[in-house]
Symmetry: C2
Amino acid sequence: MGERVTMADVARAAGVSSATVSYVLSGKRAVAPATRTAVEAAVDRLGFTVNTTARSLRTGRSSLVALIVPDLANPFFAQLAAALEEGVRGLGLHVVVCNTRARREEERALLAEAVQQHFAGVVITPFRLLPSDLRPVVEAGVPVVVSADVPFGPVDQISPDARVATRQALQCVTSGGRRRIAVIAGPRDATGGDPRLELLRALALQFGTSVPRELVVRGEHTREAGAAGFGELLGRRHPPDAVFCANDAIAVGAMDKARELGIEIPEEVALIGHDDASFASLVRPQLSTIRYPAAEVGRLAAQLLRERLDGREVFRTVKVKAEFIRRASA
Amino acid sequence: MGERVTMADVARAAGVSSATVSYVLSGKRAVAPATRTAVEAAVDRLGFTVNTTARSLRTGRSSLVALIVPDLANPFFAQLAAALEEGVRGLGLHVVVCNTRARREEERALLAEAVQQHFAGVVITPFRLLPSDLRPVVEAGVPVVVSADVPFGPVDQISPDARVATRQALQCVTSGGRRRIAVIAGPRDATGGDPRLELLRALALQFGTSVPRELVVRGEHTREAGAAGFGELLGRRHPPDAVFCANDAIAVGAMDKARELGIEIPEEVALIGHDDASFASLVRPQLSTIRYPAAEVGRLAAQLLRERLDGREVFRTVKVKAEFIRRASA
DNA sequence: GTGAAAGCGCTAACAC
DNA sequence: GTGTTAGCGCTTTCAC
């Protein structure tokens, strides 16, 4: 049992030095065809696989990619995780998941660890983190991919381009004659403020309306917060006839509360989510939402990481088109 | 930047040898109080953290725990992952997620890797894997925790105790006068057959009914398969008036199809899921389901792992009570 | 109670 | 085109 096979074993079996075995495997220097064949045969015969721990110690670079997200139980992030894992598996890397529960301390702790252990990469959806928290990571030479709505400094980044989709959503809502547009936004201290809210505000003007301050409420990105926020909005003297939510979990919570209050959606209040998490099509009425493709984001993160490990020096920002998915709730 | 701090640095700063630093940190041999204090001060001052790669190389044991699941995008597994991660973080371990998409080849490949790289542990929900596939892992000394309905041999295991819950579900269904009970089960080649189906069959007899062969259909654990299965069942000459599903995703698919066919749930057909994945309470009508607590399973897996790393030799099987959650669909 | 030193398996100079 | 070898940072035996 066990009996780990080392490069030295392979070298002995193939009648070469362990350096040659290493070079055959890495392709980092030319090897005579006959030698290569002999080594490969020995590798197969003995069932050798490289010890990534030893490799990491020697190269000073771990094989781990940290995926740092606020809430793994949100299907959006779970899908992202699955896609990322698939994307980096071929590179011999492993994805370690880190659930921060939207807490800055955890976000920071995990970044610190990524630096200390010299991770192969970090993919992060910052929630309460500041861009400056990333600097030491980048400076330590750990590739960072940020998925965020707002620019996050000198890192590779994936961001939604939600302008068209948001405009369509507004079109959908206002063409029905709705004018009192509300927003259930994320917490005030979230990273980057609330770009989704700001985009909406800017575009609302184009539709001859606006998002008044008294129709903006805030909370965590959870179902519970959504219910609370919706309740608050509907208690206003002039309640809204359309509510945009920062993500789908919030929207679902809003729907819970609407039912509780006996408010018809979409007849009395139109409801629009964000992300198109897997459950958006499950609730009734089905949730209209601004779709941001989690799997695509995961794939892209893997690609950006790979490019950087391949030596790309400049930072890239990739925009991913969001898409308005009209269902029944608006 | 970078400038990794090593034990040697700490040792120098504290005026001791690196061995002593190691012993202070591990507590594996007695250290004079004064020495301990000096070392701890140096550790703090320099911001030292142990290099897990070097430690792993030396001890022959990686700090990774593989979580091998069929479908990470299923919130059930995402929640399990989050809980497991939380449970092992304090041990200095990392959870690497592995999505097998229910394919035996991937399950096997990941187990092989866990052996080769001497992972600190494996937590697996086998889907098409055979118990014999686990033997080499256990023999290699890698702690394995299996989450499965059926006994899986000499490993630590977490299993549902669904007898009471299933009885309650049957009670609920039959007390309404329903007699034609159908099942949408998992694939025929899934690991361990279909214990949920068998349990249901056994208990059905106690309620003076049965699950006839022609009312059992099979498919993957997906929404799509659920829709297909439900369509198939309702096409039978004598369609069912109650349908039990192997998991909630299947049940949701069944609900999709019911709506498409204009079949009222629960009036015409009662529907019962399994797991209580987060979306069970989102669909309308809300899904009655046999709840199996994902977070609890994740926590327990972490605990079993910890116990084994602490030296427990015997294998444990922990039963987790499932619970019938009655909502609107049955 | 403490230190010296070997060595885990690999990579990458450096030498030929 | 190939081999020799130092050394990554830690743990642990052995010696004192």
